[in-house]
Subunit: 286 residues, 6 copies
């Protein structure tokens, strides 16, 4: 099974390249790869394989390819497992051929991207698999690594997940503190709606069924059910009768997620898929 | 016990600020924090606490303070637990006072830095504690998140670890592929030494005791013992008799690290402390 | 009447400052303001007024203040008419005091921002006033001047208008070409929904009532009625019965806009308020 | 008639590309063109025409070509009407072929450049045509849109106009406030000349014929006659007898410009051609 | 004697700061000043003097002050000898007080600016002094160090020299190759004048008196007499009778410059004052 | 003899290109090369030679090639004398063919790089030649031109020299002020070692033999003998018996350097090779 379509839509190269370039500059410092430049003759060519050492879901090959290409545009990169593909331990992700110096110079940055992003895709896919058969979709949060949000949200898509807000500006999310200052959910939603137009969704975070009722009555597009018990989630689903999309959050472990999904919520959001996913072990074998 | 001195030396603000600014720009997008701007009056002031929800070691408060200050320079930030401090679940890390809008706008970015970097410090500290009493020091690698190397290596220092190379340019590290192309360790080291001067260290990665012998004989400053058994590590220590610093790598889990340390090696390097440390749970309580 | 609240939410200073700094660098070139530096002694102080020469609605004072402050932080800027305020010919917008050199150096950049953005606010406000009493809201488009979208969309808010998408990434807008390639509105919406989650709105552009029917039946959130006659707009309103928000576009002149609004559509979008609004005449009087 | 030569000299690609790249990044945001990426298969190819919907003078095709090329270097762009060409309603400006996704992603940014810059070229050309047969040349000012000065001044050249100063640093322009602080025109010019060398022109703004006399007597290279009556302009021309170049400014409408030109001045400067020119209507037809 | 006025006009801080910031980032690398951070306690305060070890003319103190301020805004910097001042060996340029760490971190970058720019000011001043009493002014060229042109041209002003073009765009300079391609000086000047307006000077480089005659007859503003003998320079001065400004270049050594000046030329240009001036020895004494 | 190998390792193109691009942008300003664009038809092709006018050692051809390529990728650049090659007056460094406009536009920036960097390589090579036959290696310092450190240190390598620290972060260098604050060399080294790991060298600057003894006893890797007499240098060599690498600095003139080398020190560092090397005269002949 290839997960790639239709979930994977990589960010545009105009968005990926600056991040990869910046990572290479960080690694090259002020004096380039002094080991390879001193030890390896400039005309030595090699061929290498990018391989997964563990099973998981691949993400970030687009960034790895960009890294090799930025270091030396004569490197040939042939992708075997595109982003969004499941892999086993030992799976060959890509074949890479070109100058030995350049391959070794780009190696670590390329692996850092693939390892990190595949880790996120793999963690996402675990949750997605766990809720298979329910209608619940797994979504991410803004709990991402600074500077990598577009790529990490792409990795979530590679793992079969969906994307919540990309930032503070593309949707309204009214949380407890906003409600406290505004005085009520009703007033907070009124203010938000008075200043936004037809293309901006409004979500309200609620802790109780009473709050849920109020949020529904003022027409919130989406309601975030924060840390509710399974019973309350079920009641919330019953109560809302499809008037708003429901998102559950809090306590979303691999063990608990199916139970949450079976309450009938539409979305389950997880911060840990981006902020705590261990890197997937990948390597470059020459 | 405060771990902060002398290990913590934060990167200079000239290095931290651009990273934090960039993270804020990523979150603000093109239209700022539309929820807070619409729902909260501009003159509402609040006071908040940055708290740890789990035990660990704190890192990244310097980045959090920078985030609040960039969003609104009138925010007062009073640090209670500086970077490098151990914390318990519920520990108060800092007190923050200022405009409600600004606090909520900066909140997520600040938390993302503290959570991510404290996760690294905590994972590092676990290894450091495990080898306590031996002479082994825990060091990091270049397996860091793209764009965050200076901060992640700082987090390693906050956790009591030490820093390996910062990039491809500040030391020579001759690996198996370099040796293969050069023909021998001897030739590879000769080439490296011919092109570097007195302030550049040369490390050689070896897989066998025979290679170790060769590396020692050509005067490598440091030798990386890759994936050796405990027995071989012990033999390596005996064989080298202090002629070079010895670094062990491979299979460095929390369970295995003390055994490795007790072989007598000088350094133990771990990639997982930077690439796979789960985020420490921190929050902003208003 | 002050239009400022609740429509005006300026972009965050972290978003405004780089644009203003860049404009100043463009004007300073490689050798600074050679006229003022040569002709005016460094210790000459002046006081000046930023004034409107024509009636309109003010926008961009936040950028002007930023310009003066970047050129010399000792300049005192006192705003009399905040962004979103109506002005008459001769209205004083702000008082500015400080070193003569600095005021003259910043003058043109400051005026360019206020003139351009007030022109947009004024053009927007003209449409907003024309539809007063109807439920139609005026919204902008992505037809903005390259590099100034956040500020121009802010100027639209200052004029009483609302914001459509900020870019290609924060909402789905399915146009004729997308429909042609996908084969049908139904298929295009299906694909969009399969890849987006609960916080992303989907709008469909339609040319005919038949297309409108199809878009409604597949649950588009918003429907763009492109260049329809008033009669067709009325029929569209009747047909949709509130199942989706309706946006009219095309031929939105000052003369025509009220007629369009009275058909009952929810939104009327105009490109000319951003791409063709003449600058408002503003000046700095010393 | 093709206006292109010798007036059009586009800025160098090294100057154009960063501006276009930045405009694309502004439009792509954090998640790329989600509509096209979801709805259109990656291998769909299309062919399109860039067309003018109204008559005018074309400018900015170099920026449009750059936009398409940055989004996808495989796009073929064949220019039919180069910058500086007059166009009629319906004129085909360029043929564009390539991946449908990429064309739609680049479309709006490309159109924004061509529409905005052609608007400036068209407005400039109207003034240029109105003064045809006189010796007066139309010049621009520094009243340009922040960030676009090099392109807008190029658009002025495309329309047959000439360029005044590009910034505060490439020529001296002594205005009323400079004169007031220096004490006299004579002293102001003396100071300017003492600090500049042989490649820097000095212009003085005057309001009266007495001031003109003084400016001529101290050898100003160029004199700006600000808001003078036609009679005074004629007297100024007579008085100066070619001792300096004369530039008229103020009240330069399409109706008034020929009268001004016929007074015999050398240059007529207009801010409105850059700050208030309506966009030329251009579109991409697939 | 203080040379500072009226020649020194430092670039605006908005132009200086990015260059200084970039130099500090270059020196700080990825891990800051590890020596000072490890060896010196954070609360140690020191007071230091910036001193000249050799006689010359000072330039670049504005950059040094900026460097200290960027590293730590609490540093107090008191300038004793402003840019443009002559200094003797041992002269105190500035007093600096603040945290020891910060002073040592900023030291080298600050000294690099002052040493380099004072070297240029000193070399310029030597030529300026040598031509004292003649009407000739010393001017620089575009032979500057990449990235430092605004500061190096400022250093020339600090030394009493004047500035030629700042770049390829602020004046026309027709050289031998341009003439060869155009066919004649007359045609080249005609083309240049057809495309430039009243604020752009046109200079022509000539090798012979016949060329000079042609350049004068077509009204070049300035004429560059390239590598002419003293006799030919004298003839050129006689020939031109003030119809154009004359600039001599080639062989401008300290020994030869007075002879050149005494021929009566208006300007003498030197590349060596910017590309070959040895650094002035400056130091920071704690 | 070609000096190029193994000393020359140019910085990676990812490091060179931004510096060259920035230099071109500095020269192009806001309106490109107006002379060439106006005077030379776009289709004129030329062929040119990059030649040395004086003898020396070449460096910076990589930057020149990059400059021509950035201005116009159709320019053919054929290098005859690679970086690190000795040249005589008249030597042809490279052949360049392409559009005349582009060649002239890139000319000055290309020459500025080659002239400046070859000047450094030439000055370095003079010292290197002077110490030939001794074991002493010539090394540079951090006394480089702001913004050009990676290229200037490369030029030192092209001249046969070696590189000291690239910045404040890649090695510890304990100077007199650090020692004064720490209380003793012993304490300063102890603090440095407590915070650095196995890949960071520690150097101590000493003024006396007593200090040298202390530095040796605490195991400094390298010792900087500052401004010692030849007698003291000889004593220092005898005293250290190879326990540390010894670097002499101060008074390193071309006349004195061999004497210093013959004392037996390992390294001799010179600031003047980077901060005071006169430019090598190079030109572009069409």
């Amino acid at each position: 099974m290839n997960l790639a379509l239709p979930f994977t839509r990589p960010p545009h190269p105009l968005q990926v390249e600056p991040i990869v370039r910046s990572a290479l500059e960080e690694d090259l410092g002020r004096a380039s790869d002094i080991t390879s430049d001193l030890v390896i003759p400039p005309d030595t060519k090699v061929s290498a394989k990018l391989v997964a050492r563990k099973a998981g879901v691949i993400a970030g090959v687009v960034a790895a390819e960009c890294a090799f290409s930025l270091v030396d545009s004569s490197i040939a990169f042939h992708c075997e497992l595109p982003d969004g593909s499941p892999c086993g331990g030992g799976s060959e992700i890509a074949k890479i051929e070109g100058p030995a110096r350049a391959l070794l110079t780009a190696e670590r940055v390329a692996l850092n991207f693939v390892g990190h992003l595949s880790g996120i895709a793999t963690a996402t896919h675990a949750l997605v698999s766990a809720v298979k058969g329910t209608k619940a979709r797994i979504v991410d949060t803004r709990k991402t690594t600074p500077g990598l949000r577009p790529l990490e949200k792409y990795a979530v898509r590679c793992g079969g997940g969906f994307n919540h807000r990309f930032g503070l500006d593309d949707a309204v999310l009214i949380k407890d503190n906003h409600i406290a200052v505004a005085g009520s959910i009703t007033e907070a939603v009124r203010r938000a709606r008075a200043g936004t137009a037809h293309m901006t969704k409004i979500e309200v975070e609620v802790d109780t069924l009473a709050q849920l009722e109020e949020a529904l009555s003022v027409g919130a597009d989406t309601i975030l059910l924060d840390n509710m018990s399974l019973d309350d989630l079920r009641r919330a689903v019953a109560l809302s009768r499809g008037r708003a999309l429901l998102e559950a959050s809090g306590g979303v472990t691999l063990g608990a997620v199916r139970g949450i999904a079976e309450t009938g919520v539409d979305y389950i959001s997880s911060g840990s898929i981006t902020h705590s996913a261990p890197s997937l072990d990948v390597a470059l074998d020459l």
